[in-house]
Structures are given as C-alpha cells and as structure tokens.
C-alpha cells in the first residue's frame, strides 16, 4: 500500500493548509491518546502532569508534529529521510511500534474535528496511508 503520486500531492497540499495549527493538533492528539489508550501513559512516567492540555503534553505534541512535518518533506523517501528518528525510537525510546497506529488514529480524529470540510474521505485515505508509511519508516531500525 505504497504512496501514489496522488497521495503525495494530497498530503502535501493538505499539510500546507494545516501546518499553521501543527502545535495544537499535536497537543490535542497526544492528549487524546493518553486518555483513550491509557496504556500509552507508561511511556511518560517521568512527567508530572499527563492530563489533556498540560504543559508537558502540549510541548511534546509539538515535538511529535514537527516530526510529522519533517516527514512530509521526506515523502519521496521516508525510510532514508527518517533514519535518524528511527534510530532514536529503536535504540533509545524503544516505543512498541503498535503504539504508532494509536497516535495516528488520534491525529486523524483531531484533523476531522479541526478541518471538517477539508478532511474529506480522499484526504483521509492519503493521510492514513502516509501516517502508516511514516510508522513503518520509524520502525525500520528496530530489528
């Protein structure tokens, strides 16, 4: 299920519209993930406040969305482009890759809420494919 030229164009165009709200999107998506999938909180035991919208959650949401934005720029070769991030996740963070799809789903929910008109089914399928491809590239160095 690799990204077609149409998928790439759709993702880049949509990202152009939403990039301005990337920080909010990331913070909201991460907040949601911690509530909807409480097992994900196990990765953040070092934060003092895991409630939705808290300072560490919003800050980290921005970090994550900056990564997604970076990946949009690497869309023609995600594996190569995300090599360093993959090493980080594989060797240091060691996040179980199953969690990537949980956060991806929450990102899609936030996009549906913030951009109800623009997040059409066609945009949805391209974004879903992109986030899946991103997750695969991120898991590249795990084993």
């Amino acid at each position: 299920m690799s990204l077609t030229a149409k998928d790439k164009a759709t993702v880049q165009a949509f990202w152009g519209k939403i990039a301005g709200k990337a920080e909010e999107i990331g913070g909201d998506a991460l907040s949601r993930m911690l509530v909807v999938y409480p097992q994900t909180k196990t990765y953040f035991s070092h934060w003092d406040d895991l409630s939705p919208g808290s300072a560490p959650v919003m800050k980290h949401g921005k970090t994550v969305m900056d990564g997604v934005g970076f990946a949009v720029g690497q869309i023609n070769d995600l594996t190569a482009g995300l090599l360093t991030l993959s090493e980080l996740h594989a060797f240091q963070l060691r996040i179980d890759p199953a969690n990537f799809k949980l956060l991806s789903h929450c990102i899609l929910v936030v996009l549906a809420i913030k951009f109800p008109k623009e997040f059409t089914p066609e945009v949805h399928v391209s974004m879903d494919k992109f986030l899946s491809a991103l997750a695969i590239a991120l898991a590249e160095k795990y084993r």
């Binding site: 509530v35 789903h105 089914p121 066609e122 949805h124």
Partner: protein, 147 residues
C-alpha cells in the same frame, strides 16, 4: 460483563440521541469504502463504486449506511448485555454474509472520525474514549459467534 461508568452511559446515550442518522450513517459507510477499499468486496451489487465521488453519491451506500447505524440502536438500549443482544447478528455476519470481522473495526474507526467531525470540540478525549469503548464492545460481540 462490561462495566460502564455513569459518564460513559450518559455519553453514549447523548451521542446517539443527538445523532442525525441520515447524515452520519451514509458518511461513515462511504468513508469506510473509500479509506479501506478492500471493504468494497461485500458490496458487489451496489453499482458504481469506482471512485470516491461515486461512492459518496451512491444511494445504495447511503441507504445501507443508515441500516448499519440503526443496527447500533439495540446496543445503545442494552449496554449491559451487548454480547447477547448481538448473538444473532454475529451469526448472520459469519454464516450468511461472510464478513471478515476485522472489517467491523475499520468501520468503527470511520464512525469515530465522522462523529468527531459532527460534534467538533464537544468530542473531547473523555467522550472519544467512551465512544470507542462502546464500539469496541459492539465489534467484539459481532465477532463472537464466528467459528
């Protein structure tokens, strides 16, 4: 037995009480057929599903979307016994319709996204958690009678 908090019960009742079935049903099914195109395998006699526009404008898809969404009513009314409530529907989906139960999860994800778009910021993290928990129980019950 699934334990429901008061918040979860009232959230589920509210969502469905305020839902426009004629809008949400068609949108959810159409979105599922577009985002996960292999789900179209079950709708060979629905006519034109060649592209997103055709799917979204297809009256058979719209109609069936409403049927499926109303299928959730029984679970909403019987939250303490969803497994038994759906035993017959599970057999139907397994024996007669031959639907891979993984598809229930795909449709549930699309439904969450459509409801999120309808409710906007009212679809908070807690509301999302309750709604997805409800759908997860429905999905599990529909797959229960497969063998």
């Amino acid at each position: 037995m699934v334990e429901w908090s008061d918040f979860e019960r009232s959230t589920i009742q509210n969502i469905f009480a305020n839902m426009d079935y004629d809008v949400v049903g068609p949108k959810a099914l159409a979105r599922c057929l577009v985002v996960y195109p292999w789900t179209q395998r079950y709708f060979g006699n629905f006519g034109n599903l060649y592209n997103a526009a055709a799917i979204m404008g297809n009256p058979m898809v719209a109609n069936h979307g409403k049927v499926v969404l109303h299928g959730l009513d029984r679970a909403v009314k019987n939250m303490d016994n969803i497994k038994a409530t759906y035993a017959e529907l599970s057999v139907l989906h397994s024996e007669k319709l031959h639907v891979d139960p993984d598809n229930f999860r795909l449709l549930a994800d699309c439904l969450s996204i459509v409801v999120a778009a309808q409710m906007g910021t009212a679809f908070t993290a807690d509301v999302q958690a309750a709604f997805q928990k409800f759908l997860a129980v429905v999905v599990s019950s529909l797959g229960r009678q497969y063998h």
